[in-house]
Amino acid sequence: MSVDVLNPEITGRLLPRANPLSKLFAAVVISVVVMLSVDWVSAGVVLGGELLLLPLLGISIRRLFLRAWPFVVAALIAAYGTALLAEKTGRVLFEWGPLLFTEGSVGAGLAIGLRGLAIALPGLFLLSSTDPTDLADALAQRLKMPHRFVLGALAGMRLVGLLLDEWRTLGLARHARGVGHEGNPAARFGNFLGQAFGLMVQAIRRATRLAVAMEARGFGAGPRTWARASTFSGVDVVVALAGVLIAALAVTAAVLTGTWNFILT
């Protein structure tokens, strides 16, 4: 069964109608603001805003968790580590042997955890609501990125799905030759390297063939036209404004509560 990288499941109604660039813009604005300050207010406001907009994605909490759980785990670990190691200021909340948590350190941990999630979620919004082909169209037509590069990358992504199949087949083919996933760790690692080399050979062959097929269809010969117009509409204004609004609210709230903590100071 092939993993179809270029036909991801697109969810929601409003966001898929927006141009990928407006979504990219909103995501970048929000992420940059969250990155600029380490404090739990700005990160909390952004995260709250993102959670309020979640219904736009049209996926259930369960499916959302299935996609986002690595970020949640990472955020929890980062928060715990920070709370454990950050400067111990304020009242002592918990002490047991070498473990010491204070108000100050727990606050720092909370900020780091929320910040991580707040930065990760815009990317999830973008990926869940954007068709890669539309993104490529927008990058090449609107941002005027070189079309050879953009379309080459798009075609290459399709090969990634095929290579996952290829990896599985290679594993079976090698097992049939007498090289299995057995033996000591060194033997297993050697086998892994061999299989990875085999995959590389096949990847190069496929890429070469694909390049020939693209060239035969006039790719890269000169100026080209685009069958699909990458357009902007009212939705894009809404998406871009929503991004700016969330970012502005976060900064304002943090400054007003006195928690704004610019990373470069």
């Binding site: 030759r177 007498g178 090289v179 085999g198 096949q202 097929a213």
Partner: protein, 494 residues
Amino acid sequence: MASPNPVSVTARGWGWRHPGRSRWAVRDLDLIVEAGERVLLLGASGAGKSTLLHGLAGVLGGHDEGEQAGELIVDGVSPAAARGRSGLVLQDPDTQLVLARVGDEVAFGAENLAVPRMDIWPRVQQALDGVGLDVPLSHPTTALSGGQKQRLALAAVLAMQPGLLLLDEPTANLDPDGVVEVRDAVVRVLDQTSATLVVVEHRVDVWADVVDRVVVLDPDGGILADGDPAAVLRSGATRARLIEEGVWVPGHRPETRAVSTSSGTDLLRASNLAVARIKRGPAVLDGVDLTLRGGEAVSVLGPNGAGKSTLALTLAGLLRPRSGSLDALEPLARGAGAKPFGWKSAQLVSRIGTVFQEPEHQFLTNTVLEELEFGPRRVARHSEEEIRRRIDPIAERLRLTGLLKANPFTLSGGEKRRLSVATMLATNPDILILDEPTFGQDANTWAELVTLLADLINGGACVVSVTHDREYTSALGSRVVAVDGASASVEAVA
């Protein structure tokens, strides 16, 4: 459909040598193809058919990617300058599709030729209608069957409105229905556009009635035969020469060794077996009851995507049965346990050998000799003499003796296939399983393979093949397992 001007082709003393090769892939070629002609290009493996086709498509590259002699002219100019006037369809459906959706895929070529947007979508619809592909424009390209993918590739080329269609074994990887589907689409398109056609195909009978000229390339350079199909394919001397070169000529089946019918012992038994490609994935095939015996051939037949390969890989002990049972009986198990999936790799290779469709997937070492020695060394600690005693006859038999020092990846297609079979024979398995062993093979390699397998069967081994090839199936006197949709039925001997 808009009718572009058909394109003519001229080769004058043309030749091409790939970088790092001493031998010319094509040389001394003088050929004129008039506009609108339909040409079937034949020749032995390695005669340079694909090279010529790539040359005509203008994708062989510049001087740093090979050496050219003479000249090749397409539509009055060099092929690279005429790109867009010709359209090339390749053999493998998976590596020539570029985009994710059917409509975008067809539009791609027209975009590259800078066709205005308002003209592109009518062209896309026309091209899809032309090849009879009736799916929505937003349909994912990966969800198509092999035959549909090749018709899509054809439509993608048609949207460029080429005056010259170049088809490089477009049906070699398809099941019989897919072959007819693609062939008929090409004929319909040619009738509408009057474009020139040059098609390369091993299986001559598919195209013999469609083309009006057959050109046979001589592996030593130049042209071996040229004329109308009846004259070239039926006249005594040329026909004999074609058969000698391994070209599939209609009405001729290469001679192979007969299989004696003697039933051996039961080796492997499947009861109510369901198979799945990935662990806990959906069962692609269910309720298979089958017993494999020594000294017999079994062919698994059925359309592309029906689960034939998955069944074969499960029988081979490589995939875990989804449900039901697959039991190795004692003559096969010999103490390794009743479940082939649980065997260690070293136990597997001396019991069941599997030849994958793509030989390169199974190459592990840097020389042909090491490939052959690999299996026996895995099974047990043999002395050097013992190993040579095992593999020398196999190398000799499969004509690999002169190639022992060569790198497996540099072999020709036929040689790679022979090596992949030889590596499996080196450990002397009781059951040999082959996935599409005759895809794209010329008649000589085909006959060699069938004879070799017949000897194995006569020697008591069981040979299981996943195949579309009815002639192969009958040449081995195979029992047929017909796979269709979700079920499998065992038929009598073909």
